[in-house]
């Protein structure tokens, strides 16, 4: 919105007293977001991590099409490429022109295809979980921060309660029960969809408190500014104040929290897959590939190393991107 509007206003000087001089000297209006974007562009490390994140997102989006058109093939069992011990023939896990990262021992799947396709499922789960957690966290954080008294206290206690839950244990203990509930009562298709949805819900429903706390803290300071009073004076509804006055001032923490929550959930999804809760093979996710590869840590180093390295790169890039965004959006915060 801002960029299109500010493009239109390029003709005028900020000083209305002498608008005539504006013709020669073009001063374009810059929104706070555009100023932040300029700061961000100067930060090389953040730009590199953003490029990696963008590549990751593009690969994740493209993967299903690549599978459909046969460019990558995560499901073909290349049994002929395995030796008698079901280890890949050749050095470095059977790297060849057809299989750039080698093949998976035991099954003969193409490792690169599986990692590539696995990215898609990892992203889908972590993105959905992040959206659930962010939505809950932002809305409850704004409401808690803006309302005083018992509403704030109630949400505060809910945050404490949720944070004090041993969620990983819960998640494991309840998984079969909850997945059965999802399929039987909510008619979610059985299998990986129900499993994935369960992970999304658990990560989302246990992830909002920390986000709500950050947002609440921000709202506490914004709420005292006079433009909030002004909005109340104009008769603005609570919803309008929440989402039109406060939320636009929260984009910086929201964006930063988003880019920092994503990698946490990517690794959480991997950890859950590793524990056998999330989507199960043959559908690949980064987590279940990593889990399987552990069996071959000694005999097939490439197979073990590749998924771990990929997760590491993605998580670090997202984190650096989040840090860079925070620096760009809030220039007053010191490192």
């Amino acid at each position: 919105m801002s960029s299109t509007l500010s493009a239109l206003e390029g003709e005028q000087l900020p000083e209305p007293a002498e608008p005539d001089e504006g013709a020669a000297q073009k001063v374009a209006g810059k929104s706070p977001m555009r100023l932040a974007a300029e700061r961000f562009r100067k930060d090389k490390l953040s730009m590199v991590s953003m490029v990696i994140v963008v590549i990751y997102l593009l690969m994740a989006i493209l993967a299903p099409f690549m599978v459909k058109f046969g460019v990558i093939d995560p499901y073909t069992l290349n049994q002929d490429l395995l030796d008698a011990n079901t280890l890949p023939k050749g050095d470095f896990g059977g790297i060849s022109a057809d299989h750039p990262l080698g093949i998976v021992p035991g099954t003969g799947w193409d490792l690169m295809s599986r990692l590539w396709y696995g990215i898609t499922f990892s992203l889908a789960i972590s993105l959905l979980a992040t959206i659930v957690a962010m939505t809950l966290g932002v809305v409850l954080g704004i409401v808690a921060g803006f309302s005083r008294g018992w509403v704030d206290m109630l949400i505060g206690r809910a945050i404490d309660l949720t944070l004090s839950f041993p969620q990983t244990l819960m998640l494991l203990a309840l998984s079969s029960l909850a997945v059965a509930f999802l399929t039987d009562y909510l008619h979610v298709p059985e299998g990986n969809i129900a499993q994935g949805l369960y992970v999304v819900l658990v990560l989302g429903l246990f992830g909002w408190p920390s986000i709500a706390r950050i947002i609440r803290g921000q709202v506490l300071s914004i709420r005292e500014r006079e433009f909030v009073d002004a909005a109340q004076l104009l008769g603005a509804s609570k919803l309008r104040i929440y989402f039109k006055e406060l939320l636009p001032n929260l984009w910086a923490p929201v964006l930063v929290t988003f880019t920092l929550t994503m990698p946490a959930y990517i690794s959480a999804e991997a950890a859950l897959s590793y524990l056998g809760v999330s989507i199960k093979p043959p559908t690949p996710t980064l987590g279940n590939i990593l889990r399987d590869s552990l069996l071959y840590a000694e005999s097939d180093f490439v197979y073990f190393f590749a998924p771990a390295f990929l997760i590491c790169i993605i998580v670090v890039s997202f984190n650096l991107l989040g840090d860079g965004l925070r620096d760009a959006l809030d220039p007053k915060s010191s490192r």
Binding site: P14, P32, E226, A231, G235, P248, N249
Partner: protein, 396 residues
């Protein structure tokens, strides 16, 4: 500053008009909570304690006082950003002090506010157009397509370039931002504007421009102003009637000329003596300054009797025992002091005991007879307490 004086009260006719705003005995006590699990109320900040005044349509009342005296809180009570603890706010014949938040919305159109700090009163993420157009969108009075022309009209009224509607607040200077705030307040064509120190955050050259703009707007649209400020010169320029507040109470209220030339309350006199005087500099030498000793007492536990007594050069025993009533001592002049008088001519004996039924030290005095019925109302009456002979003999 320009020499134009706005809206000299046309003596009798204005006084008889029904006031647009009639505030009686307004109180705001903020609870002070203890820390810990059970947050008991351990006291109250008596920010505003029994304030009464009137604002006539199209007129302006100035509210002055030092920081923390409750003048901003009074403004926020009238705009109903706070719900008052007690008292009535009569706006156009309707008491809005206790109206619920939901029913306030139509009233919001008539009472608007100009904020002190133009750097926080505009949402930095909204364009000027959406800031000024917000009232129209919220109240849904004009169709969406008509909002922009109205916004541009308002920008022109407050002296900004109408083409700047899609800029962000941070692209404007302080004075321009304050004009944006004024335009927003004008959008709904209010009848009363509460201006909460509208020029305090601006530098002096810009102050004059903004004040003149406010005067032009008042003349053009007939808006009544409650003008809150701590700058006595600005208030004198803008307001035909002025109330002086100290620690949550009005200590003196009078028309401009009386208050500035013949103040009767020692606090008003001290305030006025703190204003630099250019004429004095021409004459040379130093003017007598009244220096108040000590700090403003805490509004959580204000002094007994008269709140000003801890710093008052005239204070006697009666001041600690009995609170002085806001006594009308002239046609348009009320003062809350036991020893009212012009500077250097304060009476040596309190003038109020006869009215309050106490002796001259403030102890109850059966001989003095019952306390007279003292009006605590907001307006001025036709008879007043005559200081010359200490009777209710003054008449218009």
């Amino acid at each position: 500053m320009s020499t134009k004086l706005a809206n000299e009260p046309t003596a009798a006719s204005a006084a008889e008009d029904r006031p647009i705003l009639d505030v009686t005995n307004l109180k705001m006590y903020f609870p002070v909570k203890s820390s810990g699990l059970f947050r008991r109320t351990v006291g109250h900040v008596q920010a505003v304690d029994g304030v009464s005044f009137r604002v006539q349509p199209g007129q302006s009342l100035g509210l002055v006082g030092e920081s923390g005296c409750g003048k901003s809180t009074t403004g926020r009570l009238i705009t109903r950003l706070h719900e008052p603890t007690g008292g009535t706010i009569d706006f156009e014949g309707k008491d809005i002090a206790k109206v619920s938040a939901g029913k306030l919305k139509p009233l919001r159109r008539d009472i608007q506010m100009i904020f002190q700090d133009p750097y926080t009163s505009l949402n930095p993420r909204h364009t000027v157009g959406s800031i000024i157009g917000a009232p129209l969108a919220i109240h849904g009075i004009v169709p969406k397509s008509k909002i922009l022309p109205r916004v541009q009209e308002l920008l022109e009224i407050v002296g900004l370039n109408p083409e700047h509607y899609n800029r962000y607040p941070h692209e404007f200077s302080g004075g321009q931002r304050q004009r944006i705030g004024i335009a927003r307040a004008l959008t709904l064509q209010p009848k009363l504007l509460v201006a909460d120190e509208p020029v305090s955050a601006l530098d002096v050259s810009i102050q004059a421009q903004v004040i003149n703009l406010l005067q032009e707007l008042q003349d053009e649209f007939g808006i009544a102003f409650l003008f809150i400020a701590h700058d006595l010169a600005v208030v004198r320029h803008f307001c035909p009637e002025i109330a002086v507040m100290y620690l949550g109470k009005i200590v003196e209220i009078a028309d401009r000329d009386t208050l500035y030339s013949r103040p009767h309350h020692p606090y008003t006199q001290a305030l006025l003596s703190a204003v630099p005087d250019v004429k004095q500099a021409q004459v040379g030498g130093r003017r007598e300054r009244i220096r108040l000793q000590g700090d403003v007492p805490s509004p959580i536990n204000p002094p007994s009797g008269c709140r000003f007594r801890t710093r008052c050069p005239l204070a006697q025993e009666i001041c600690a025992r009995v609170e002085p009533p806001l006594l009308q001592i002239g046609p348009k002049h009320k003062v809350a002091c036991h020893f009212p008088g012009e500077l250097g001519q304060h009476p040596s004996k309190p003038v109020t005991p006869g009215l309050l039924g106490v002796d001259s030290t403030g102890l109850p005095d059966p001989a003095a007879g019952p306390a007279a019925e003292l009006s605590v109302g907001s307006g001025y009456s036709d008879t007043w307490f005559d200081l010359a002979n200490n009777t209710m003999g003054g008449k218009a």
